[in-house]
Homo-oligomer: 556 residues x 2
């Protein structure tokens, strides 16, 4: 079997100017990065045109560790819509190097449903992550420099500083560190740590900002810590937001690439959905919508994580009205949720599949809470049996939910024509009445409770002593009106990765609540979830290589 | 007076394809990054053609904190040579964000002798520094992951690991840190630190590598630490070099931009000269030489630092034969070395100037030790008096050294025509007999002693206990044959920044010796020099800003 990279290499790419032309964007206005990548100036966003584009969200059931193929389905669906002569753009997140060198591999789709050039997109791409990392760490350096200074100190209490540093790698040894050792010339010792760049508040800010001015304002609003007199200090108090914005002047522009069938793909921003808001940038989505009749986008991990945040944070923030949710399901994952072993998922097992359906059912119920219609996309694997496929179809029919088998890995857009027709039909006939789950101005604990009970299915929410102190801090800073971005494992609807299927009678435990005053949300951290992942015993990096001709191997 | 950025903005840039054409490189072969930046494939290096290009090294006397304008002189000289119809390329280092946001500002020349687009070159440019940083920190993450692992551990003793992490910022609080806190899931606690990216061994490797295969081999040779059984561990033992090379696949290609007068400039690599080897990449220099009759390049800080390393490390490594050294001197700096106050350098002061001449004299003596002819370039400032200029010219005449006044900040290439004619004359009439100061296969302490006494003018060299232990380690690893890359203050010929002019009767103290087995050199660290700088009380970052139209201010 060919690898994704080998399949990608069989395709002759179109010059990126041709792709820009498909969007009606002038060749001379894009900023090319080599022949096949470009940044699009923000002036090409047209809010009126965007409002007429049909926004399609691709989400998924609770995934196995391998993921269930949301990106692949998004790309395949976009190809199929284009094959049906619907002008469509797929809008995705940028991959993080953490998973690329860790366990999951790249994030550019797979098989015959990929975005290209995959080896560039999966590595540094156009430098957005690096720019975010640098802006984040510049603020950290400025903070420590201010503590160090005798003359310009703001009297920041080092013990209260919540701004950490970030790196786009899985590096668990950096989670908790002590900096500033080595005597008076090398800073003030204090405890801090690194998160992965995908969890950076600046990633969140970039993905919610509407333009350069909004970006700078949000950067200035980043909460840093308290003075010894208990006065809050923000990035603007350190005069950091100008230089940070300068570092992000290109990163704010969305990136244009192409699908394997030569259709436009916009890829921009990359927050994870388990530890951040999990969707691409508002700017990218609006750019896609400004130049397409249909815009396909995705939100990370299961519907409980990325999609909830997409609806409650992003759609409310940018006033977006999604028309339909495509819920990606795999027979493998459903069997896994029904009790089958990870190593046995390729074997037919109707009982396990049946036992796994409640997971699918819960995600469908959750979608209905946002008043948006759904269609189930069964992401086909070669090992799926006819009986297994029929079982899901029967389940969907009984629930009165549309369903389509999608074989995009093997067939590309041609494998998603049924799905595309269902999507068009839903958009043409039903009227999405999108509404968010909660209002931003509700009390913080009500908002958390609503998500935990309504979406996750928890009995109630417990707060650690630290989280309770965080709640008081949020109140004293006047930030109660911010929306909620829960950090939670993707492996379960609960905060315990071992509870598969549709867990019941569980409690969500909030360990602490981070404040993202610049991004404009609060991050309750549940269970054992870490905002800096670790590498596995055998990281994917060990098998990645390049030969003397520049041919790369080992990138999936 | 206009700022550098304002002067830069008065120029209409040529499309980068036009600049490539000037080098005889096909438009379709370069990889553009926007309209004005491109990477050149390595296949355009032609060693035979390169051997026929005249290589000109621009160096300087010991600088003031503001620098004496080597980059500006290099650019202006290149413009002048082109005005004289000599096909010339200037080859420079990439700026680091540390100085950009710290105290020194950008590194793209100044006034009417700049490389453009300066705001891009001074920020992320084409992402080379970020790629180096990521490759460096990936190895660090793999090392800590190996220590953490129960199943694949190489039994690395955490106390022996010499591989640190890097970030391209001035961040003194990261100099000495403890990582791995937080219990069994978050790594093994150990002491380590961050250097600035310009000091990364991978920066050194990239700047010495001749191609992708050589790069990968050098990355594999990076020394990491010892096992508990005292066996050395290299990056290749961790299978890290393939993924690291993949991260550097684009960074290895040199960057093409243009000078303010529309001539080609190749900018690639950026090691500092006080803490690393201080010159651009071998690949960039050879690329320039492959496509030009004259190639102007520079090495950082005073001749004692960058130029010594350029000759002894880079020229020996890549078999380069420089034809002439342009020694940049300013009247300001000579007065400073002659005892004038930093704040009084704009006032005429013949006595101070006379007292400062021994610094210039020592650098000239040092050049002659390499058997390369020299020309003094007086980098003109508006405040220089006629008497002061005459004094230097008389000094040069007495020493039988060529000298030319260069007014490139105000006049661009037209201000360096005299200098260019001197350079052409020297190349046409004299035969450079370049030879290095020492042979690589001499004993380590002899090589260090030779540099310290012959170049710095020290009485002798003292070693700390740690440095002596390092010497034994170097011997046991069989690395005695590597050349020497001394880390030393740029402010003095000695290792004490307060000893100005031509210090005598001083001792060089080696604090420790770092091993760069992949780059292929040893780094004796002298005095108080730090491989991670700090920010000043008022960092330049505070004044850098961007408005809603994307216009940047505060970048010098």
């Amino acid at each position: 079997m060919m690898t994704d990279l080998q399949i990608a290499k069989t395709v002759t790419l179109k010059p990126i100017s041709e792709i820009a032309n498909k969007l009606g964007i002038d060749t001379y206005q894009i900023e090319t990065y080599g022949q096949y990548k470009a940044k699009i100036p923000l002036s090409y966003i047209d809010r009126n045109k965007a409002n007429n584009s049909h926004l399609i969200l691709v989400s998924a059931i609770s995934p196995t560790p391998a993921g269930e193929g949301k990106t692949t389905i998004s790309i395949g669906l976009s190809e199929a819509l284009n094959q049906l002569h619907k002008k469509t753009t797929v809008v995705l997140r940028e991959p993080s190097l953490g998973p690329v060198f860790g366990i999951k591999g790249g994030a550019t789709g797979g098989g015959h449903a990929q975005v290209l050039p995959m080896e560039d997109i999966n590595l540094h791409f156009t430098g957005d992550f690096s720019a975010i990392e640098k802006a984040h760490n510049l603020l950290a350096a400025i903070i420590d420099n201010n503590i160090q200074s005798k003359t310009v100190s703001l009297q920041l209490d080092p013990r209260t500083i919540s701004w950490k540093r970030v790196v786009d790698l899985n590096d668990r040894a950096l989670r908790r560190i002590i900096v500033g050792l080595g005597g008076t010339t090398s800073g003030v010792p204090r405890e801090t740590g690194f998160d992965i760049t995908a969890a950076s508040e600046i990633m969140a800010i970039l993905c919610l900002a509407e333009n350069l001015t909004d970006l700078k304002k949000r950067l200035g609003n980043i909460f840093v810590g308290y003075t010894y007199d208990k006065q809050p200090i923000y990035a603007r108090d350190l005069h950091a937001e100008g230089a940070m914005t300068v570092l992000l002047k290109d990163a704010i522009k969305p990136n244009l690439v192409q699908t394997i069938e030569g259709n436009p793909a916009i890829i921009h921003g990359g927050p994870f959905a388990n530890i951040a808001q999990g969707t691409n940038s508002v700017i990218a989505t609006l750019m896609g919508m400004s130049h397409s009749d249909y815009t396909v986008t995705e939100a990370g991990f299961g519907f409980d994580l990325g999609a909830e945040k997409f609806f409650d944070i992003k759609c409310q923030s940018a006033n977006l009205k999604p028309k339909v949710v495509v819920l990606t399901a795999t027979i493998r994952a459903l069997k896994y949720h029904g009790g089958a072993n990870l190593n046995d998922l390729t074997k037919p097992n109707l009982d396990a599949l049946k036992n796994g359906l409640p997971n699918l059912e819960k995600h469908l119920e959750n979608i209905s809470k946002f008043k948006v219609p759904a269609v189930i996309a069964i992401n086909k694997f070669a090992t799926d049996s006819e009986e297994e496929i029929s079982l899901i179809k029967a389940f969907a029919k009984q629930k009165n939910i549309s369903v389509a088998l999608a074989d995009v890995w093997a067939k590309g857009g041609a494998g998603a024509l049924d799905l595309a027709k269902e999507v068009i039909n839903i958009i043409d006939t039903s009227t999405s009445q999108f509404e968010p789950l909660y209002q931003w101005n509700s009390p913080v604990i009500d908002k958390i409770e609503t998500i935990a009970t309504e979406i996750y299915g928890a009995e109630h929410v417990d707060y650690s002593l630290k989280a309770k102190a965080n709640l008081r801090k949020i109140s004293s800073l006047g930030l109660d009106n911010l929306p909620i971005c829960i950090a939670k494992t993707q492996k379960s609807l609960s905060d315990n990765p071992k509870l598969l299927g549709r867990p019941k009678d569980f409690i969500i435990t909030i360990r602490e609540i981070e404040i993202a005053a610049g991004a404009g949300f609060l991050i309750p951290i549940t269970g054992d979830i870490m905002r800096m992942p670790g590498l596995p015993a055998h990281p994917a990096a060990e098998h990645i290589d390049i030969n003397e001709n520049g041919d790369i191997s080992g990138l999936f």
